[in-house]
């Protein structure tokens, strides 16, 4: 390592990469297609503004035999809100969706749509639109008949349902495929048809169960923005189930992180990313390194100093719901993009270690640093900053507010 060179990443510049890319990407998409938006305006007017309903889930419990899939979940959705249920598979998010749709009967708790209790209402009486992961288009009907299906079930006149179905198809940018069969369309097109079918009857709530899971990455990202735009234009209330955190961060007004059948944290994407309520959320959302230690002393408000087993000390901020006293064991979560690497120096008090791996991914270079106690800490340096050679000793520096200390069991 060249003497005197400061290896660093600015804590601010790399922060909240997902939020930043979301804004710029949406701006680009909107700017790139000015014509499409105006073309869709007429269709939009024809479908009318769909003010979504307010949803309230109170203490929802669902058991499958001995397995408790949902363990008392309470959630509210404002009218017109886009809420993402984010969690690993088996966390109960799809079960909540199925209970809302009425395909599963809740074991306990209540579900309200605009203060109407729908807990035991059959699915066909709920007025909820749903988009499935595998599209679930009717293979024996044309695209137009698929989209018009919910209107047909509501006994609307033929001319009206055809006009509305065509408007919905235009809204999802699929004019001209109305007479085709679903299997003649690509996966992305099929999912647009499914979306048109789910909004054409102005549902009180739109449920989406990993709707982009079967599509490739590029298509997924462009559809994310389209769905988000459409939802905002229509004012539909959306509950969106996904295990893809990027998708949730990009699309949702608020995210509810699920784990083991319970909601871990609900909040706007930025809040969840910046202030995770516990180590599960910190770990699940974005990249996080964990360092275990003991609270050495407490400062003003939430400031504290944490001592590692090896005797190193560093500044951190207390987080999470638990009361923490001096001497309590904590687990400290640090975002890799908030870590600054400095050349090793004798008077450094905080964590230090040796670079054991450096992985370049285009936008940044991820460094793995092994501390003297054997803990692995990740540091992400933005592209342009030269990577630190493997084997070099470095000091790890961060803002105290970027290291969030959660109480852990001893």
């Amino acid at each position: 390592m060249p003497d005197g060179q400061v290896l660093m990443s600015d804590p601010g510049a790399g922060g909240r990469p997902t939020g930043a890319s979301f804004l710029s990407a949406e701006g680009a998409a909107a700017g790139a297609r000015p014509g499409v938006q105006t073309a869709g305006r007429e269709a939009l007017e024809q479908l009318g503004h769909q003010r979504g309903s307010q949803i309230r889930i109170e203490g929802l419990v669902k058991h499958f035999g001995d397995v408790r899939a949902v363990a008392g979940v309470s959630l509210g959705l404002e009218a017109g809100e886009f809420l993402a249920l984010l969690g690993p598979s088996g966390s109960g998010k799809t079960t909540i969706l199925m209970c809302l749709a009425g395909f599963e009967r809740a074991t306990g708790g209540r579900i309200f749509i605009d203060d109407e209790d729908v807990t035991t209402t059959p699915p066909d009486k709920r007025d909820i639109g749903m988009v499935f992961q595998r599209y679930a288009l009717f293979p024996h009907m044309s695209v137009l008949d698929n989209v018009a299906f919910p209107l047909r079930m509501r006994r609307r006149p033929r001319a009206e349902r055809e006009a509305l179905a065509r408007a919905a198809l235009e809204l999802v940018r699929l004019p001209g495929v109305a007479e085709r069969r679903p299997h003649q369309l690509s996966g992305g097109q099929q999912q647009r048809v499914a979306l048109a079918r789910a909004i054409v009857f102005r549902p009180r709530l739109l449920l989406m169960d990993e709707p982009l899971g079967a599509l490739d990455k590029k298509l997924r990202e462009s559809l994310q923005l389209e769905i988000k735009q459409l939802q905002r234009q229509l004012g539909t209330t959306v509950l969106y189930v996904t295990h893809d955190q990027h998708e949730a961060l990009t699309m949702a007004d608020r995210i509810a992180v699920m784990h083991e059948g319970a909601v871990q944290q609900v909040g706007p994407p930025q809040q969840l990313y910046e202030e995770p309520a516990n180590t599960f959320v910190a770990d699940f959302l974005g990249e996080t390194s964990f360092v275990d230690g003991v609270v050495a002393d407490l400062g003003a408000s939430a400031a504290c100093r944490v001592a590692t087993a090896g005797g190193r000390r560093f500044a951190a901020t207390l987080a999470g719901p638990d009361v923490v006293r001096a001497g309590d064991p904590v687990r400290v979560a640090i975002r890799p993009e908030r870590v600054v690497l400095r050349p090793s120096s004798a008077d450094h008090d905080g964590l230090a270690g040796r670079v054991i791996e450096a992985v370049y991914d285009g936008a940044s270079t991820l460094h793995l640093i092994e501390s003297a106690e054997g803990q692995i800490i990740r540091a992400r340096l933005p592209a342009g900053v030269p990577p630190v050679p493997l084997g070099d000793r470095v000091d790890l520096v961060w803002e105290p507010s970027s290291a969030r200390a959660y109480r852990r069991e001893r």
Partner: protein, 289 residues
């Protein structure tokens, strides 16, 4: 270009090469050719070979109303048996498709069980049930519901009952497999979009199970046309069906040309039906994914 060439020829010819395919097909081709097609062809040809080539036998057939009557009776029986089997089989297949795996497995075994029993045994079992002094009449008369026993055995009704029972599995199984092939999210999507349970059945489940229904109808109808044992046992001499008639002509009356002519007419009509339905089946295939 290469793809177009590969597309020609059978799939096995592409995978195994033409010579190996020929070797694999040869034993069965020889067996069928020598032991089946040749004798059947020779038998069918006899209808045209009475003192040299002639079609007199067919003119003779057409002039005797009894043959027309038996043909009509056979087709009427085929249609009735097929319809009754369909009406009985669809709800059963539907219930099986919706049942839990264990229940569905047991139901499948129960449906299949009769297939493993001899048709002869099952037909004679029905004579025990349907006879004037059989189990059913004993119950009806014994309980005072009827004064005199109901005449069922040796009527067309007995034939219908026996044939429906014997052919039912052949109707249930294709419908069951078609219903099972419907992805669960399709009925779910339909009901979520506002379709009542009845509407889900009518607009989604029923249309998507049609290929199975067609398959079952074709199999049962064609089997019914050629049924021999059950009509012979349960129908008695008064309700002759085509296959019984053929046997009678060939073995009792030794009138081989007539037997051959009847068989050929039956074969032609059956093949016409298969081809007609086959065309609609391929349309059905277009509808599925």
């Amino acid at each position: 270009m290469a793809a177009a060439q590969a597309g020609r020829g059978s799939r096995s010819a592409r995978v195994y090469g033409p010579s190996l395919t020929a070797v694999c097909l040869a034993p069965m081709t020889v067996l069928l050719g020598v032991l089946f097609y040749l004798p059947v062809g020779a038998f069918l040809a006899r209808s045209f070979l009475v003192d040299g080539f002639s079609t007199d036998v067919y003119a003779d057939l057409a002039s005797r109303p009894i043959f027309l009557l038996i043909f009509l009776r056979t087709f009427r029986t085929g249609i009735i048996v097929t319809l009754v089997a369909l009406v009985l089989a669809y709800p059963l297949a539907y219930a099986m498709a919706r049942a839990r795996p264990i229940v569905a497995g047991v139901a499948t075994a129960i449906v299949l069980l009769p297939l493993w029993t001899s048709v002869l045994v099952r037909s004679y079992a029905w004579t025990v049930l349907l006879d004037d002094r059989g189990v059913i009449n004993d119950i009806l008369v014994g309980s005072g519901l009827l004064h005199a026993p109901l005449r069922i055995l040796y009527t067309e009704t007995a034939v219908w009952i026996g044939m429906v029972h014997i052919l039912l599995p052949l109707m249930v199984l294709p419908i069951y497999s078609a219903l099972r092939a419907i992805p669960t999210d399709l009925p779910q999507a339909a009901s979520g979009l506002g379709a009542s349970p009845r509407a889900v059945l009518r607009h989604v489940v029923l249309p998507l199970s049609l290929p199975g229904v067609f398959a079952g109808v074709v199999i049962v109808f064609i089997s019914a046309l050629g049924f021999f044992v059950t009509p012979a046992i349960l129908g008695g001499p008064k309700t002759l069906m085509i296959s019984t008639l053929i046997t009678q002509q060939a073995t009792s009356l030794l009138d081989w040309p007539v037997a051959s002519a009847i068989a050929l007419v039956l074969l032609v009509i059956t093949m016409a039906i298969v081809m007609a339905v086959g065309r609609s089946l391929s349309i059905e295939r277009l509808l599925s994914i």
